[in-house]
């Protein structure tokens, strides 16, 4: 299985890239390739199972949009044709309609996803997060949010049979503080605002993702240690007196 990381030189905040390094360690069959800002995405011309893009800076978002703009139509077609994508943190914002800045100006996104983001650079939103994988409604998922933006569906769009919530929050917010649905899955595109090494802290969800990617026989690396830390975190995040947003 080949995984392509888009723009690791800038889309690398909060150890997001360790998600893919972790998958690589799960199986010797996983090969990782990278694409920089000045190159065409490989998945448009090669057999790539999963395309990954992680969190970046505000300036980085503009660089990504500029880099991918010439390929917008091809990217849209690839997604419609079932290309696997994983976007963590603020990565999906570049694929949305626009990013609204503090001064009211808007940065035009690639316009592929029916979402937009609103920045508030003087208020960083931080949250612990616990919820469940929406597809089965029972697999616990833990994580962290730390962002300057909130994400919304465009008017007339929202969760439906095509845009399914990826997770549902038990504690913490969803895609934005007014909803409990977190992230979404559209065909084989997965996006979530949970950032950092999501797979490392979620061995159960890692198993699910490996299965979705066609590697059901693959065991998460260091699974016993990962489970021990995961179970402790689940217990802690359910403590009623534990602060959750910051």
């Amino acid at each position: 299985m080949k995984i392509e990381i888009l723009f690791p030189e800038i889309c690398n905040l909060y150890a997001d890239l360790q998600n893919i390094e972790y998958l690589r360690r799960c199986s010797p069959d996983i090969e990782v390739v990278t694409t920089d800002l000045h190159s065409a995405p490989k998945f448009l011309s090669e057999d790539i199972k999963l395309v990954y893009i992680g969190t970046t800076t505000e300036k980085g978002q503009e660089l990504v949009i500029n880099s991918l703009k010439p390929y917008t139509g091809d990217i849209r077609s690839a997604i419609e044709n079932g290309q696997f994508f994983l976007m963590t943190g603020n990565a999906s914002e570049m694929f949305g309609q626009f990013i609204r800045c503090d001064d009211g100006s808007e940065i035009k996104g690639l316009g592929i996803l029916p979402t937009y983001a609103v920045r508030n650079m003087m208020h960083r939103y931080n949250s612990l997060w616990i919820g469940q994988y929406s597809e089965d409604g029972k697999t616990d998922v833990v994580g962290f949010k730390s962002q300057f933006t909130q994400c919304f569906f465009m008017e007339g769009s929202g969760y439906n049979d095509s845009y399914k919530p990826l997770f549902k929050a038990e504690r913490g917010d969803g895609l934005n503080p007014s909803i409990k649905e977190e992230g979404f899955r559209y065909k084989n595109l997965f996006m979530t605002y949970l950032l950092g090494p999501l797979f490392i802290v979620n061995p159960l969800f890692t198993r699910i993702m490996l299965e979705i990617l066609g590697a059901a026989e693959t065991t998460p690396a260091y699974e016993e240690a990962s489970m021990a830390s995961f179970l402790k975190r689940c217990k802690e995040f359910r403590e009623p007196n534990r602060g959750f947003t910051y």
Binding site: E9, I10, L13, Y14, A15, Q18, Y22, R25, D36, L37, H38, T57, E58, K59, G60, L63, M121, R124, N126, L128, F144, S146, F148, L195, G196, P197, I200, V201, A221, Y222, A225, S226, A228, S229, K232, R233, E236, F237, R242, G243, F244, Y246
Partner: protein, 456 residues
């Protein structure tokens, strides 16, 4: 001067002895009280005429204290927030302590460590003559976002007339407030430098002008080094204060400015701290202190022992190494320093973000930005994971390739100190954050007592 200001000043001053008598820390509350009573207190209280601000991600407390030591040794009376907090309330405490009952400053010069995130609340009311910036790296994910965000805050808020003393080897902090007057310090190429980045944190990979690949002529660690753009004419700045010929045996560095060398004492042999020495020398030279006098002055400059402290019991040494939790860079640099020290080591990790644990839980993403791989070292015999985040550290150390036989996992810190494998001639490094000093002391005492009781 209004009644409200005077009331705020007097009540805040009065609170200081009350807090001290009742055993409380009087570094932040008096300033908070003053601002609560008089919201523009910080704007109104008189400041010393010459203000030297020190900021940056790492090393600002060390540098501010070194500058104070140097200035005092040079015979300059200086106000310093040495024990105070570095945000607006803490600076207010510092200023009101040093003011008369009518709010006039008793000092002509101040050295103030300033939290980089607090710049918007500080700089409208305080114009530093010099601003020293140590570096900009990733810091707390929750508070600081990313270095580019902090650079942006500094860009917007540093007063235009402030002269910057900048690290020429740091292409992030070296480019802040680009129109301000500035001088650069740095350290010339070292034998230990590399070209390719060996660290997980590497936040300057593309040209800030054209976005093309940045080529490093040499790299010290992370994004620190000398680089140029592969496409445009962007490159690292020339040094005004060029450190070279470090003599670790004699504990000196030569620093060239205006074409002539000075030879200065280095108070610690880590490169990170030698940068701090270069910063202090650059500032003191800017202030007009002659090379010869400065060389004598630098002899008396020491790293505060809360940062690096060695205690012995029998044949066992217990070394406390400050390694700020949530700060991947600080822990990486501390680890890199310790791994290069001679002899076998045991690493006692007390970096579980204890302050966060009281109310919520730490965002552990930083663990995977930090080079724990450096602890996969043949001279690091045992790694003790303890505290509330011990299972996360255990997982991280396995991920770093460290054999599980070398990792000791125990949630309770005191139990960990009592039970890990301690032998004669061991050197135990306690890595700790700033909110764990009491716990560090307790664990250190347990280890020292074991060394004596067990006849080690």
């Amino acid at each position: 001067m209004g009644l409200r200001f005077i009331t705020a000043l007097w009540l805040a001053k009065l609170s200081i002895p009350v807090l001290k008598i009742t055993g409380h820390n009087a570094t932040d509350f008096p300033g908070s009280l003053a601002i609560k009573i008089c919201p523009d207190f910080f704007a109104r209280i008189e400041k010393p005429k010459t203000i030297i601000a020190v900021t940056g991600t790492n090393g600002k407390t060390t540098c501010a204290n070194m500058i104070c030591d140097a200035m005092e040794a040079a015979g300059i009376k200086v106000l310093c927030n040495r024990y105070g907090s570095n945000i607006a309330t803490g600076l207010s405490t510092c200023l009101l302590q040093a003011s008369t009952l009518t709010g006039k400053s008793k000092y002509d010069t101040a050295v103030l460590e300033i939290d980089e995130r607090s710049a918007p609340r500080i700089f409208p009311y305080l114009i530093p003559k010099y601003m020293c910036v140590t570096n900009l790296f990733r810091d707390s994910i929750m508070r600081n976002g990313h270095p580019d965000y902090i650079a942006g805050i500094l860009d917007k808020n540093i007063p235009k007339e402030t002269k910057l003393i900048l690290n020429g080897d740091d292409l992030i902090s070296g480019r802040i407030a680009i129109d301000n007057p500035r001088v650069y310090y740095g350290i010339d190429k070292l034998d230990t430098d590399v070209v390719e980045c060996e660290n997980l944190l590497n936040d300057m990979r593309i040209c800030p002008i054209c976005g093309s690949h940045l080529e490093y002529d040499y790299r010290r660690y992370h994004h620190i080094g000398k680089a140029h753009c592969s496409m445009c004419d962007f490159k690292s700045p020339e040094y005004d204060y060029e450190g070279h010929d470090i003599d670790f045996e004699k504990g000196t560095i030569k620093i060239k400015d205006h074409g002539e060398d000075g030879v200065y004492h280095i108070s610690n042999d880590s490169i990170f701290n030698i940068y701090n020495t270069c910063l202090v020398v650059a500032l003191m030279r800017e202030l007009g202190i002659g090379r010869e006098k400065l060389a004598t002055v630098m002899e008396s400059v020491r790293i505060p022992d809360t940062r690096f402290n060695v205690q012995k019991a029998g044949s066992v040494s217990v070394v406390t190494q400050l390694a700020k939790d949530k700060n991947a860079l600080a822990v990486t640099r501390a680890t890199d320093y310790v791994r290069h020290l001679p002899g076998h080591k045991k690493m006692f990790l007390l970096i579980s973000c204890y302050k966060d644990e009281r109310h919520w839980s730490e965002n552990t993403c930083w663990l995977y930005d930090c080079d724990f791989e450096m602890m996969n070292d043949p001279l690091m015999d045992q790694l003790i994971c303890t505290g509330p985040r011990a299972p996360d550290f255990y997982m991280r150390l396995l991920y770093a390739g460290i054999p599980k036989e070398k990792i000791f996992l125990e949630l309770d810190e005191h139990e960990a100190a009592r039970k890990f494998d301690l032998k004669s001639n061991d050197t135990v490094y306690i890595f700790c954050g700033i909110d764990a000093f009491d716990l560090v002391d307790e664990c250190r005492q347990i280890i020292k007592k074991r060394a004596i009781d067990e006849g080690l």
